[in-house]
């Protein structure tokens, strides 16, 4: 289990990295960027990925690893490693569901090097950050040598481990809305072992109106299809209603009708749906309770 040979390239700036990427692609070179390597390196060691050239983005950390908050927007540099998200007070305040999620992502050693940009680009449908990014309808800035575009999760994720990223394109920023005062977020997941990719995960964000009834409602599911799936519309249907056990159960039951998870080695379709139902119920109730705790209704 050793990687096949490759040219190893260390760019000095983002601009240079994009230029190189562009040129090499144009020459027909199978080039890949590497960030933390926590998804790419296992694939390379197993020779399931054999890029002929590797552009190491780590040298751009000065430029591309940051966590900034302003104007209701959380802007995160793609090279920000998991552990910095985990330990960041800004994240804990502005997007506490990420803090909650980080503790569930792999192990301390993985979080030392794996990055948010790599996590989105790798696009594992069970991964936590893609799910949260979907839940919150974040944005990603994608850049090539010639320009930039901004994509939403629905546009970015295409299928299992497939994204809209062009071969010469790099995520240069991940954006998330700052959680407003009074918002409650929760992530519920089920994995065979601590730190494994989840068999299923549900993330929820709610806010309440003056009467304590449902106002803002976001809901997304991971591990139950080829990409994270936004099922907020189901919850939105209950706007203005009191959040009760019964509502949570009804939403959870409805939610699974939108899903078509596959059977695989670790879980059957049936069981995944069952998990999603149960995790959904829990996530809704938990985010509601967190709402209550932060609002003076």
């Amino acid at each position: 289990m050793k990687p096949a040979p490759f040219d190893y390239i260390v760019p000095q700036s983002l601009e240079e990295a994009l230029g190189l990427l562009h040129d090499l692609i144009a020459q027909g070179v199978d080039v890949k960027v590497i960030a933390g390597g926590q998804s790419l390196m296992p694939l390379m060691n197993m020779r399931l990925a054999t890029p002929a050239a590797l552009i190491d983005l780590e040298s751009l950390s000065g430029e591309l690893a940051y966590i900034e908050e302003g104007n209701g927007l959380l802007r995160v540099g793609p090279l920000t490693p998991h552990y910095r998200l985990e330990e960041s007070p800004v994240i804990a305040r502005a997007c506490p569901i990420i803090t909650e999620a980080e503790a569930l992502i792999g192990h301390p050693q993985i979080r030392s090097r794996g990055t948010i940009g790599g996590s989105l680009s790798h696009a594992d449908p069970s991964a936590e950050l893609p799910l949260i990014w979907t839940l919150l309808e974040g944005r990603a800035i994608l850049a090539t040598k010639t320009g930039q575009r901004v994509l939403r999760p629905q546009e970015f994720f295409i299928s299992y481990l497939m994204t809209a990223l062009a071969p010469d394109e790099i995520i240069t920023e991940v954006q998330l809305p700052v959680a407003l005062e009074g918002v409650g977020q929760a992530l519920e997941e089920f994995s065979p072992r601590h730190g494994d990719f989840a068999l299923a995960a549900v993330a929820c964000q709610v806010s309440l109106d003056e009467a304590g009834c449902l106002r803002g409602a976001r809901l997304a599911v991971g591990g139950a299809g080829p990409t994270p799936i936004d099922v907020s519309e189901v919850l939105e249907g209950y706007r203005g209603e009191a959040v009760t056990e019964k509502l949570a159960l009804a939403v959870a039951n409805q939610m699974v009708t939108h899903l078509d998870p596959p059977d695989d080695l670790h879980a059957s379709r049936e069981y995944r749906l069952n998990l999603v139902r149960e995790l959904g119920r829990r996530a809704i109730l938990k985010s509601y309770q967190r709402c209550l705790r932060t609002t003076d209704v």
């Binding site: 289990m1 050793k2 990687p3 096949a4 040979p5 490759f6 040219d7 190893y8 390239i9 260390v10 760019p11 000095q12 240079e16 990295a17 190189l20 390597g37 926590q38 390196m41 296992p42 060691n45 197993m46 590797l54 190491d56 780590e58 552990y83 503790a103 792999g106 192990h107 301390p108 050693q109 993985i110 030392s112 090097r113 072992r193 601590h194 730190g195």
Partner: protein, 166 residues
């Protein structure tokens, strides 16, 4: 200008406070292999080479890292610590002593990786619960001990914040 490396390259690694020249190696060489085969620091082990077992755990700039998922060249300019650097004297460090006392190893193959994870955990925790220690160890598989004595050894060095057992 960007640095291009194709067939072979040379660099310097700082391991356990010492600078080691690494000459004429391919960029694809994993940090673990550079440590083991080039620098002959064979305390760092390889148990899976795909990031799951933790036997290859070393500290890079004080963070625990899989040396099987990092290239040697990526460790240039970093501070690498391996099991060989835990104690540079004749005596064992308190962590090593605790492992010895608690029978926290059997075959010893996982031990170097576990020790490096524990080093980091102890640096960042003054108190801990059993559960926290177990979670901190989730990235280090041990097939012999059942983990319990490892948890005991680590907990003996921090304030135990676990409640009474049920």
């Amino acid at each position: 200008m960007a640095e291009f490396n194709t067939k072979s390259m040379s660099y310097v690694l700082r391991v356990n406070g010492r600078e080691y020249p690494v000459t004429d190696v391919e960029p694809r060489m994993l940090l673990a292999d550079i440590l083991r085969d080039t620098l002959r620091l064979t305390g760092t082990h390889l148990g899976c080479e795909h990031g799951v077992c933790g036997a290859c755990t070393v500290l890079v700039d004080e963070r625990p890292v899989r040396s099987c998922l990092m290239l040697g060249v990526q460790a240039r300019g970093r501070n690498i610590e391996t099991v060989e650097g835990i104690s540079d004297t004749d005596s064992l460090s308190p962590l090593q002593e605790a492992f010895w006392e608690h029978h926290a190893l059997q075959c010893g193959f996982c031990t170097p990786g576990v020790l490096m994870t524990a080093q980091h955990f102890l640096k960042t925790h003054e108190r801990a619960t059993r559960q926290q220690v177990r979670e901190a160890l989730s990235g280090n598989l041990c097939r012999c001990t059942g983990y319990q004595p490892i948890v005991d050894a680590i907990l003996s060095l921090v304030e135990d914040a676990s409640g009474p057992t049920p």
